[in-house]
Symmetry: C2
Subunit: 152 residues, 2 copies
DNA sequence: CGTAAATCGTTCATATCGTGAATGATTTAC
DNA sequence: GTAAATCATTCACGATATGAACGATTTACG
């Protein structure tokens, strides 16, 4: 009976890949709508968040971490600098490198985004038990690990 | 002691919103990479998939279902028509309406995408027990429901 | 040493994607 | 039977991400 299960295979709608892709996209869009009033886009928040795990990092390292082109990271950093959320500091040991540093305002903005995320969670997770929420969270964490995403 | 829990709140990285947004985005990107050789983008697959639940539907209905502008749906349908995956058929009862119908080739393409999704699942879910996978799937289904996404 | 190659940040041109406004054909309301 | 609404479509536009080119700096190595 080897291979008896999955003869037809999981239907497309039921795959984790399909559900993650569709649900993730609309969640990201909704998140984008809420942070727009703070002049932020999801990638800006991703950059701010990356700076909390790697307090100071070169722009190129950050670009690789986020999986975006270096030229894009420049513009993200420019915008965050305009907002006063990050500062560029030349690495004295290697003057090519621009390290990004979170300012107090950057921390504040990040705290605001965290509150928005929690508020979004209340809507997304409505009707789920505590155990179900925990299972979803750890499941997402495991998938993130398989994708080499830098989560805690 | 009202409000004692969540004094600091769930950290941003641990929120479902943040994890869904980030993980979902990279999963969607990876999926996009795999279907590219078939001349498809995620939205094309979404349209094909929508046609399996509503076998024939007007383009405007489909646009609303997918949450995209009607003008975009025209271009998605154009491309799928070029690929021979869908046919436009005028509704005889209301000749303004163009109904989209999946062709055999469309069904084939969708089956290919389903196989790609299952293959992606094997990577995303590596290391998760059967129970964990099931919990993740139902959790995603529940979130999809809270977002009014049309899943089974 | 000193020159060649690599690295980092930046700018720029370009491709792509999604939207909203305008248009034409058809249908519905009154 | 005329006016308003609906559907599909085209078009111009904004926004986003990329890769190529460039200047400044650093590293490798004859």
């Amino acid at each position: 009976m080897i291979g008896m299960s999955d003869v037809k295979g999981t239907p497309l709608f039921a795959t984790a890949a399909f559900r993650l892709g569709t649900v993730g996209t609309v969640v990201a869009d909704r998140f984008a709508g809420r942070i727009a009033e703070h002049d932020l886009k999801p990638k800006h928040v991703g950059l701010l968040a990356a700076l909390t795990t790697a307090p100071v990092a070169s722009q190129l390292d950050l670009a690789r971490l986020m999986g975006v082109a270096p030229s894009l990271l420049v513009r993200l950093a420019d915008h965050l600098e305009d907002l006063g959320a990050v500062e560029r500091v030349r690495d004295p040991g290697d003057r090519r490198r621009q390290a990004l540093r979170l300012t107090d305002r950057g921390h504040d903005l990040l705290a605001t985004c965290a509150e928005i995320s929690r508020s979004l969670d209340r809507e997304l997770l409505a009707g789920l038990s505590g155990a179900e929420r925990a299972a979803l969270r750890t499941g997402l964490g495991a998938v993130a690990g398989n994708l080499d995403l830098p989560f805690d």
